[in-house]
Amino acid sequence: DQQVKQNSPSLSVQEGRISILNCDYTNSMFDYFLWYKKYPAEGPTFLISISSIKDKNEDGRFTVFLNKSAKHLSLHIVPSQPGDSAVYFCAARAINAGGTSYGKLTFGQGTILTVHP
């Protein structure tokens, strides 16, 4: 059961334009959502996060939007730069049945972003 899904395997964008990466989830117990960027031969790098009680979080060129009713989040990159070309993973952390959180992150399959000069 894929609790976090990124349905677009790839996205191609022109430099300077907006990149929008999408993520859907099914588990209502997720309390935090995170986006990671991964270059080949490197580990994932944390980009930005959002709490489930928020609907927007912004950090420089990166903004994450959360639509809790639709169980959907998106990452906007504006303006896109060639150096943004990487695999982007959406991840989510769940509160366990006891009402506490522990560290497990559930990841989506990733979206390959290519930004053309």
Partner: protein, 114 residues
């Protein structure tokens, strides 16, 4: 964020052997995690390793196949035992950040089993 290193960065191993992967952090951390990324797949949590206690394994992963040590607050090892080609993956360790929901990852170990 913590600086995390892993050794080896890559290895090619024969079927039936084992590989031990080391993860070193530049600061003391309570929780360390081991993930696997199979080719073309997402990252999947193998186990959570807390210092001074047994590792907690996720469904589908067992201690006999993936024994983990956590001797102190800056170091952990993951052993992948009795290797088969299906074990060919990238193995990553991560640590929880100061904000408990954040995790920071090492560079990964690329394992190829022949």
């Amino acid at each position: 964020s913590a600086v995390i290193s892993q050794k080896p960065s890559r290895d090619i191993c024969q079927r039936g052997t084992s590989l031990t992967i080391q993860c070193q952090v530049d600061s003391q951390v309570t929780m360390m995690f081991w993930y696997r990324q199979q080719p073309g797949q997402s990252l999947t949590l193998i186990a959570t390793a807390n210092q001074g206690s047994e590792a907690t394994y996720e469904s589908g992963f067992v201690i006999d196949k993936f024994p983990i040590s956590r001797p102190n607050l800056t170091f952990s090892t993951l052993t992948v035992s009795n290797l088969s080609p299906e074990d060919s993956s990238i193995y990553l360790c991560s640590v929880a950040g100061s904000l408990s929901y954040e995790q920071y990852f090492g560079p990964g170990t690329r394992l190829t089993v022949t």
